[in-house]
Amino acid sequence: DAMVIQNPRYQVTQFGKPVTLSCSQTLNHNVMYWYQQKSSQAPKLLFHYYDKDFNNEADTPDNFQSRRPNTSFCFLDIRSPGLGDAAMYLCATSITGAANEKLFFGSGTQLSVL
């Protein structure tokens, strides 16, 4: 089945140790999003790619970077994770990002920072 896959499901890292979260999609969608969701809060958009065009949210810390080497894959790099970066990270896709399109979510990666 076509889907959005996030690996790993759970990730534990140490304070300050770089970590990479991955997302892949078999939907061939043009747009890929990364959301951060802390406990009991709404998903917060970090950035998104429209094809190869990178769109960063103004309040996304520089500590967060992203790469999209091809249509299918997108990575979230946290260069120096702090305790406040512990959260669920959700990857989502959309066909073209039009207003009438829903988002397809992956199952998320729960990041813990020790």
């Binding site: 429209y50 065009d53 769109n55 039009a98 207003a99 979510f105 998320g108």
Partner: protein
């Protein structure tokens, strides 16, 4: 740009009804509704595109008042499976597309 949801939480007994509201200070191009269970990804419920549009999904329905820039989600004859956090999302223009911003969510607890 984040839409405002109310109430923050609601507790229901099975069979009772509830309304969740979502409003925005900016023009709404579309309103999306998702439900999320604890530890899981959000699940899509429905999209409303036009003012006056109403949609239904089982006994969950929604309306969209474009002029008032608000939407409401109606849970009718609630079931235990309706428990979860409901998010409304609004698409706002970005460089090439319309990014989706979520409201803070409404936690619904349905008890037997």
């Amino acid at each position: 740009q984040q839409p405002v949801q109310s109430p923050q939480a609601v507790i229901l007994r099975e069979g009772e009804d509830a309304v969740i509201n979502c409003s925005s200070s900016k023009a709404l191009y579309s309103v999306h509704w998702y439900r999320q269970k604890h530890g899981e990804a959000p699940v899509f419920l429905m999209i409303l595109l036009k003012g006056g549009e109403q949609k239904g999904h089982d006994k969950i329905s929604a309306s969209f008042n474009e002029k008032k820039q608000q939407s409401s989600l109606y849970l009718t004859a609630s079931q235990l499976s309706y428990s979860g956090t409901y998010f409304c999302g609004t698409r706002v223009p970005s460089s090439n597309d319309y990014k989706l911003s979520f409201g803070a969510g409404t936690t619904v607890t349905v008890r037997a």
